[in-house]
């Protein structure tokens, strides 16, 4: 009896990879600090149809190695595919999806908010509650500097909006595993 002639119902359709539920992921990518490496990473994400939410790049304490933190939305299989494609880049040394790990995740934001003598104290009070600080004061505005998780910054930005935001810049998230474990140390070079 072959499946073709078998008298049972047709099997359910085969799942198509990447068609699951999307959620936010954070990838840590260690790369060789070579010309064009940022272009390679960005180009790959674009070409493979992944949408980067944020991307932060900096040096590490090791010579010639840079670290990127990429946040993006996608289902787990799709993001795994992105990670595997990234890993194929010759200049990429390591890719780790830390979404499920215990991490410290921060970004820095600068927010230029309308503030005058009438409401400056109120603004400063809110900023202090958010463990932010005032980086600059002018007669009609202040620059608020805040660090925290993406959601914390979102909340502060929402509050500042009622005073009027003149300008906003955010660095995008950087993350580090909690505890003694180190993504960099695990690198065998």
């Amino acid at each position: 009896m072959t499946p073709e002639t078998a008298a049972h119902a047709a099997p359910p359709p085969r799942a198509i990879p990447g068609s699951g539920e999307a959620r936010r992921h954070a990838l840590v990518v260690l790369v060789m600090d070579r010309p064009g490496v940022l272009n390679r990473v960005a180009s790959l994400m674009r070409a493979r149809n992944f949408n980067i939410d944020s991307l932060a790049v900096s040096r590490t304490d090791r010579e010639n190695i840079s670290r990127m933190t990429i946040t993006l939305h996608g289902d787990d299989v799709a993001v795994e595919q992105a990670a595997k494609q990234l890993y194929k880049l010759i200049d990429v040394l390591k890719v780790q999806d830390v979404t499920a790990d215990r991490v410290v995740e921060h970004e820095l934001a600068l927010i230029k908010v309308r503030a005058n003598d009438a409401n400056r104290a109120e603004v400063i009070k809110i900023v202090e509650l958010y463990k932010g600080r005032i980086a600059d004061i002018a007669p009609e505005s202040v620059i608020v500097e805040a660090t925290g998780a993406e959601s914390e910054i979102d909340a502060l930005v929402a509050l500042m909006r009622s005073y009027g935001i003149k300008e906003l810049v955010r660095t995008g998230a950087i993350v580090m595993l909690r505890g003694a474990g180190s993504i960099e140390e695990a690198l065998k070079l």
Binding site: S43, A47, Q85, K88, I90
Partner: protein
């Protein structure tokens, strides 16, 4: 009327035999045979001597090396250290420093192509036929962009090609200088890796890395762009050792051995399966794992199907060889996939031309997927048993891990497959024998070329119907005897790739099988074939159509034939203009004689096959459909 051509172009059917010479040429260079008008001077004539002298002067006039070692020298040394014997290239302003010293390196045969795209495809064909890295080169700007289609072709098919380009001197970079284009920006997303070299001191390391990356792990093209000043600077940089190259690439560590636990799991799946099928892909050929594939199939008595680029991984005459799968694959093969309970995929990537609709693909099958590229696993279909590793090593390990199975234990399954096979072969036009009634069918032409070359030539297909006919009807028996642009589907591939294939594997007769459309895209390389006497036999399958476009327009677009009618030149006169002897065949009974005539030529030759204009390739799975929804006939009784 030109000597090597007979018969006015378009007539067909009952017209008298158009093989003009009456007999095939009796060996020797046909073009130089007395009494024949040709633009290639005959051997021994003063004109031939002059050409030879000029060619020798270009390549072998070794000048005194009483000069400093410059970047271009470092490049040539590095190529020779990598075993490069052939360089497909076209000169230009910024790579003149290389051409200036090329004569000092007679070890490398320079093939002066007529267009950089031809050079890139030639390097690709060279790599596919030889298993070595192919090398092509072009100048900055248009020279570099002309290489791009060939580089993309190599990328999609995982072919080890190193493409070299020059760029403007580094102080001019970014100034929109003459013939400057950001070529590394262009090739970045379509190469395995690329480099911009601005200093001669970096050349030995970069070239060594380029070859290592191109040929290790999953192969692919690597592009190296040199600024003109880097080629001209004096350098004492030494060439790195193999260990130094590896140490310098910490981000490139391909996995070769399959994980033992996964091998064990796979062996369990194989033992439990009642209707298993092996899907052999290009990875089997790249890993030179054809013996391991056969051993595994024989030990387990599991039949083998193959992808377009997996053709040749198994001798088609082997009792367990089942056939070519996918959109234009054999119906019995697709049927076997749709009814399998286990697919063992080795070195293939479940491309959309293989699966059709993923939702309905192999609905009863669990899947074992082995590939050297982890990103291929789970990319297009979800699989039960992923194995990352080189096909040769994985197949070896699997063969050890499985229990032997007697044919009698699979008799019911194998007998059913055999029955499906005889059904599907009988219903195709190939089996119905349209040629017996005098219809010049393409499958007949391709089949005869296969037969008359003892199925042992290198067959280089173009893209479209000709490619599918070649894949289906040549009957391949030797690994790397089939060369085809599978992933990118690059029309114009056949002639230049065959040029490279003929040089990459000179022991094999080389045939380019092209449609009239693809042939016209790169026919300038006829001159390269003639000038360098590269013995490629070209079969132009001329249906005066873009056949596959016409087929889609007929079946999918309701017969709205826009731009698929493709008038062409008199292909015999065209070939003759280049000094290439040519024949024309318009009826089935002329095919054998034309093929034998072309085979007898010592050098390139062309046959113009005027084939039935509206033959379709069946079966045909239209886009968005699944492997169970094949169109097998269309229209009248013949189709």
């Amino acid at each position: 009327m030109s000597g090597a051509v007979a018969g006015p172009g378009r007539t067909k059917g009952t017209e008298a035999m158009t093989l003009t010479k009456g007999e095939p040429p009796a060996g020797g260079t046909a073009a130089g045979a007395p009494g024949r008008r040709s633009h290639v001077p005959g051997d021994g004539t003063p004109a031939a001597a002059a050409i030879d002298q000029a060619r020798r002067a270009m390549l072998h006039d070794v000048r005194s090396k009483k000069r400093t070692r410059i970047g271009a020298d470092a490049l040539m040394e590095a190529l020779i250290r990598q075993g490069v014997d052939t360089l497909f290239s076209y000169p230009g302003g910024v790579i003149l420093p290389i051409y200036d010293i090329l004569g000092d390196y007679p070890e490398v045969r320079h093939i002066l192509v007529r267009h950089e795209q031809g050079g890139a495809h030639a390097a690709d064909g060279y790599a596919r036929a030889s298993g070595k890295v192919g090398v092509c080169m072009g100048t900055s700007g248009p020279g570099a962009t002309n290489l791009v289609t060939g580089i993309g072709t190599a990328q999609l098919d995982s072919i080890p090609v190193v493409a070299l380009t020059g760029n403007v001197a580094s102080p001019l970079l970014g100034k929109d200088a003459f013939q400057e284009i950001d070529i590394t920006g262009i090739t970045l997303p379509m190469t395995k890796h690329n480099y911009l070299v601005r200093s001669a001191d970096d050349i030995p390391r970069v070239v060594a890395e380029a070859f290592y990356i191109a040929s290790h792990g999953r192969p692919g093209p690597v592009h190296v762009d040199f600024t003109k000043d880097a080629l001209q600077q004096e350098t004492r940089a030494e060439h790195p050792t193999a260990d130094e190259v590896i140490a310098g690439l910490p981000g490139f560590r391909p996995t070769i051995e399959g994980h033992p636990k996964q091998i064990k799991t796979a062996a369990r799946e194989i033992a439990a399966a009642k209707r298993p099928l092996i899907l052999a892909g290009h990875g089997v050929l790249i890993a030179e794992a054809w013996d391991e594939l056969r051993a595994f199939a024989e030990k387990t008595q599991i039949p083998v199907a193959w992808t377009l680029l997996g053709i040749g991984a198994m001798d088609e005459n082997h009792p367990l060889a089942y056939g070519y799968m996918g959109m234009h694959g054999w119906k019995h093969v697709n049927r076997a996939i749709q009814s399998a309970d286990l697919l063992i995929a080795i070195g293939m990537r479940f491309d959309d031309r293989v699966t059709g609709s993923v939702a309905t693909y192999a609905p009863y099958a669990r899947i074992i997927h082995a590939d050297i590229d982890p990103a291929e696993i789970g990319k297009n279909v979800a699989v039960e048993v992923p194995i990352v590793g080189d096909a040769k090593h994985v197949l070896e390990a699997l063969t050890k891990a499985v229990h032997p199975v007697e044919r009698s234990n699979r008799a019911e399954y194998l007998d059913q497959l055999a029955e499906w096979r005889s059904d599907s072969e009988a219903t195709s036009w190939h089996g119905s024998g349209g040629w017996r009634e005098g219809v010049m069918t393409a499958d007949y032409v391709v089949g005869r070329i296969g037969e008359l070359t003892n199925h042992d030539a290198t067959y280089v297909a173009d893209v479209g119907q000709n490619q599918m006919w070649t894949a289906r009807y040549t009957r391949f028996k030797r690994p790397n005897s089939h060369v085809s642009s599978g992933g990118l589907g690059t029309m114009g591939f056949a002639v230049p790739a065959a040029m490279g294939a003929a040089l990459g594997n000179p022991a094999a007769e080389t045939w380019a099988l092209a449609g009239d459309g693809g042939f016209q895209m790169t026919s300038q390389e006829l001159m390269t074939l003639a000038a360098d006497r590269i013995p490629v036999k070209i079969a132009v399958l001329d249906n005066k159509k873009l056949g596959m476009i016409r087929q889609w327009q007929e079946i999918v677009y309701g017969g709205n034939y826009h731009s698929s009618h493709l008038p062409g030149p008199d292909f015999c006169k065209l070939a003759e203009a280049y000094g290439i002897p040519a024949w024309k065949a318009t009826t089935p009974e002329q095919v054998d004689q034309a093929v034998r005539a072309a085979q007898a030529v010592d050098g390139p030759a062309l046959i113009w096959f005027e084939i039935e204009e509206e033959q379709n390739v069946f079966p045909f799975m239209t886009a968005g459909k699944g492997l169970s929804d094949l169109i097998e006939t269309w229209g009248g009784p013949e189709e």
